[in-house]
Structures are given as structure tokens and as C-alpha cells.
């Protein structure tokens, strides 16, 4: 029994890193994703194409490959161009990888949310003399945000689990903590059971929270 608790404790020692990366990556994903979503809805065709390609590239490649490119590939490329660049720690690279990766998914979520706002809202705002940008900022985006909140919650959960692949770029998050312990003790079963336990201890409450948000949404829709 003690060995199982030890397995959980080892995994938990990486939880702070996992959470940190996830939170910063989601914030970055939402900010970048908003611009990507607006870009994909641009009236200028070239801008639409650029952002569509961005989304396709990120959604069409595994995040572990993206991590390898950013963490190992990018410094090499920069050194070839004469910049003496290397990542001080995998933490920033991890946030960057997860944030950029997430932005592609968040962009699609945001685009869906923006398009779900009744088009009469934009018309009413414009009829009051607001510019398109003002209507987006004060009227459309706040409403879209409420619509997409549950979907963003799900994205947060997905990303939290996905951070496990960052062990390949030596980030000592939950999974890597366990792997290191296994390397030293060969206690694979208790170690990885503990890893799973730690992820579940975050994802189950979060998915309950998302379910509550979805129920609230459904209620406010009815009372419209």
C-alpha cells in the first residue's frame, strides 16, 4: 500500500509544473486564438488563407512533434543563422508549444462562438452608430465568451492531459516525475497508477465544473 501512496506522491510533485504550464498556455491560447479567429473571419482573402494555414498546420501535426521542433529544432535553426540561442529551461518552450497548439483549437471554438451570436446583435450595434470594432468589443465578444466558456473548459482539460508529452523535452511535469522514479526503482505499476490518479484528480472536478456551466447556459437560453 505504501508503495502506491509513494507513487501518487511522486506524481503529485510534478503537479505544480503541469498546472502552471496548462494555465499559462490556455491564457496564451485564448489571446492568440482570438486574433486567429478574427483573422479567419477577415474580409480580406489573403489574411483568411494565412490563418487557415496556421490552424491546419497546428491541428494536422502531433503536439509532441511541435514540441520537438520548437525545443530542439528552433535553436539549431537560429544558430545556423548566427544567433546564439538555446532554451534556458523547458518551461518557456513548453508554454509556447502548448499555447500555440491550443490557439488553433481555441480559434475554432471562438469562431463558432462568435458566429453563434444572433446577427441582430451586430445590426443593432451598428444601427446605434458603433463601428464594427466597437460592436465586436462591447456587444459580440462578451456574448460569445459566455457561449464558449464550457468549450474552453474542455480545452483546458484536454491541454492538461496533453502536457504529458512535454516529458520528451525534459519538462519535469507529472508524467516525467513518474518516469524518472521508475527509472530509479523499476516500480512501474504503482508509479503510473499514481500518474493516472493525479491527472484524474484534476480532470474529474474540472469536467464537473464544465457540466455545471453547460447547464447554466441551457437555462439562460430558455429564459431569453
Amino acid at each position: 500500500m505504501e508503495i502506491y501512496l509513494k507513487g501518487i506522491a511522486i506524481a503529485y510533485s510534478g503537479a505544480l509544473v503541469t498546472l502552471q504550464i496548462t494555465i499559462f498556455a490556455v491564457i496564451m491560447g485564448v489571446i492568440v486564438g482570438l486574433f486567429v479567429a478574427l483573422g479567419k473571419m477577415s474580409s480580406i482573402k489573403l489574411i483568411r488563407i494565412i490563418f487557415s494555414v496556421y490552424v491546419e498546420l497546428l491541428r494536422g501535426t502531433p503536439m509532441v512533434v511541435q514540441a520537438l521542433i520548437i525545443y530542439y529544432g528552433l535553436p539549431m535553426l537560429l544558430q545556423d543563422f548566427g544567433f546564439n540561442f538555446r532554451w534556458e529551461s523547458p518551461v518557456f518552450a513548453s508554454i509556447l508549444v502548448c499555447g500555440i497548439n491550443s490557439s488553433a483549437y481555441v480559434a475554432e471554438i471562438i469562431r463558432g462562438g462568435l458566429q453563434a451570436v444572433d446577427k441582430g446583435q451586430m445590426e443593432a450595434a451598428r444601427s446605434l452608430g458603433m463601428k464594427h470594432s466597437q460592436a465586436m468589443r462591447f456587444i459580440i465578444i462578451p456574448q460569445a465568451f459566455r457561449i464558449i466558456l464550457p468549450a474552453l473548459g474542455n480545452e483546458f482539460i484536454t491541454l492538461l492531459k496533453e502536457t504529458a508529452v512535454l516529458s520528451v523535452i525534459t519538462l519535469t511535469e507529472v508524467t516525467r516525475k513518474s518516469m524518472l522514479w521508475v527509472a530509479a526503482t523499476f516500480e512501474a505499476w504503482p508509479a503510473y497508477l499514481g500518474t493516472a490518479f493525479v491527472y484524474l484528480s484534476f480532470t474529474i472536478p474540472l469536467s464537473r465544473l464544465v457540466a455545471v456551466m453547460e447547464r447554466r447556459m441551457a437555462q439562460s437560453d430558455r429564459s431569453k
Partner: protein
């Protein structure tokens, strides 16, 4: 003053407006009636360019608004619009609905905008609803709030797009009353409506539209009392 010259609007192959020429004078109250699909709403929505005309010209106070380089937001400030489905902003209280545009577009101070909003709410009989959200308002209250919101920009022209069509019958009267009060204040109003009794009572002039054209126009007495065109007669015989 609104001048419309040979206005057409096509949605793909569908010709919704087939060449409308009309002048609406300052302080005039004009009701637009006609069967569904006759282009009434499209005509109204072209006036503040919510629909971009396919051809023709629209002049507001002598200035052509549907040409390149015109700042439509400046023109729209002079024109309020009231929608069939209210289109109140559901994430804002009634007061915020009314003050958002004066504050953000006209750069009115918050205190001044709120003071004006309270006066407008009093005018439409909703002073006790300032701090509730639209979801807590009845249909009639929503539409009165929407009228107050449009008036907050101090427009010279008000456009009404079937303002009572989405209301339960017992709420139609309260909205029409607010609109009637407005006509006494010398506001230029263009009202697309199915309320024939109301049109007859408040309109200076009635336009009858069918198949994208103004088929007949005249005073309410002329249109309702002695319609000349066959299509007007046939329409009125069905709705009156």
C-alpha cells in the same frame, strides 16, 4: 429628409426592390404597408445601409450615403432603428443598453448618459426597470426599452421595422402608445407595420408596397378610404 432614387436590391437572383423612388420630408410620419415579401423591411434597412443597395441612390439631408468614402457610422448616429426582435443586448442591464452607444460613440460622460437614459426610461414608462436585464422584461417592455435605446443617440430620423409583430396582442398597445407620443415630438419616422389602425391614426402618408415597388401612396384617408390600385384594394380587403 430622406430621398431615395431608383433603389434596387437583389439577393442573388431574387429582386427584392425593383426601383424605389421616394422622398420623406422632415417631421413626416410615413407608414409602409404591404404583403409579406413585398420588400418593406429591405427598403427600410437600405435607408441606414444595413442592406447595401444593388443600385440607386439614397440621400439623407441632401448627402448621398451609399457611395465610397462616406462614414456610415456618422450617418447612422442620426438614424435610430427599432427591430422586430428588439435586439436588446442580453448581457447588459436596460440602463447599460441605453448608455453604451452615447458613451462609446458620442463620448458622452457616464453620468450624463445615465441621466438622459433615466429620462428616456421615464418617457417609455420603464424607470423601475433600469437595473434589470432584458431577460426579465416582457416583450412590450423590451420593445419600449429598445425605442429608448435608439432615442438615446438623439436621432433626427427613426426607422421602425415591424416593431409590434413579435409581441403578444395585449402588449401591442403600450408600444404603439410610445410611438404615438414620438410623432407629437416632430420626429421623422418611417414605420413598417401591419397595424393598419395605427397607420391610419398616426401616418401623414402611407406607402403601399408590393413586389418590390411602391404601388400606391397617399394620405391614410386616400389609401384606406379610397384605394385606387387593384393590388392595394385586394390587400386591404384581406387585412381590414
Amino acid at each position: 429628409m430622406i430621398e431615395v432614387n431608383n433603389l434596387t436590391k437583389e439577393f442573388g437572383k431574387l429582386k427584392v426592390l425593383q426601383g424605389i423612388t421616394e422622398t420623406i420630408r422632415e417631421n413626416e410620419v410615413v407608414c409602409v404597408i404591404g404583403p409579406s415579401g413585398s420588400g418593406k423591411s429591405t427598403f427600410l434597412r437600405c435607408i441606414n445601409l444595413l442592406e447595401i443597395p444593388t443600385s440607386g441612390e439614397i440621400y439623407i439631408n441632401g448627402e448621398q450615403i451609399n457611395k465610397k468614402g462616406v462614414d456610415i457610422n456618422r450617418i447612422r448616429k442620426k438614424m435610430g432603428m427599432v427591430f422586430q426582435n428588439f435586439n436588446l443586448f442580453p448581457h447588459m442591464t436596460t440602463l447599460q443598453n441605453i448608455t453604451i452607444s452615447p458613451i462609446q460613440v458620442n463620448k458622452t460622460s457616464k453620468a450624463e448618459a445615465e441621466e438622459q437614459a433615466m429620462e428616456l426610461l421615464k418617457m417609455v414608462g420603464l424607470q423601475d426597470k433600469a437595473h434589470v436585464y432584458p431577460s426579465a422584461l416582457s416583450g412590450g417592455q423590451k420593445q419600449r426599452a429598445a425605442i429608448a435605446r435608439a432615442l438615446a443617440m438623439k436621432p433626427e430620423i427613426m426607422l421602425f421595422d415591424e416593431p409590434t409583430s413579435a409581441l403578444d396582442p395585449e402588449m401591442v398597445g403600450e408600444v404603439l402608445q410610445v410611438m404615438k407620443d414620438l410623432t407629437h415630438q416632430g420626429m421623422t419616422m418611417v414605420i413598417v407595420t401591419h397595424e393598419m389602425g395605427f397607420a391610419r391614426e398616426v401616418a401623414d402618408r402611407v406607402l403601399f408596397m408590393d413586389e418590390g415597388l411602391i404601388v400606391e401612396q397617399g394620405t391614410p384617408e386616400e389609401i384606406f378610404g379610397n384605394p385606387k390600385n387593384e393590388r392595394t384594394k385586394s390587400f386591404l380587403s384581406k387585412v381590414l
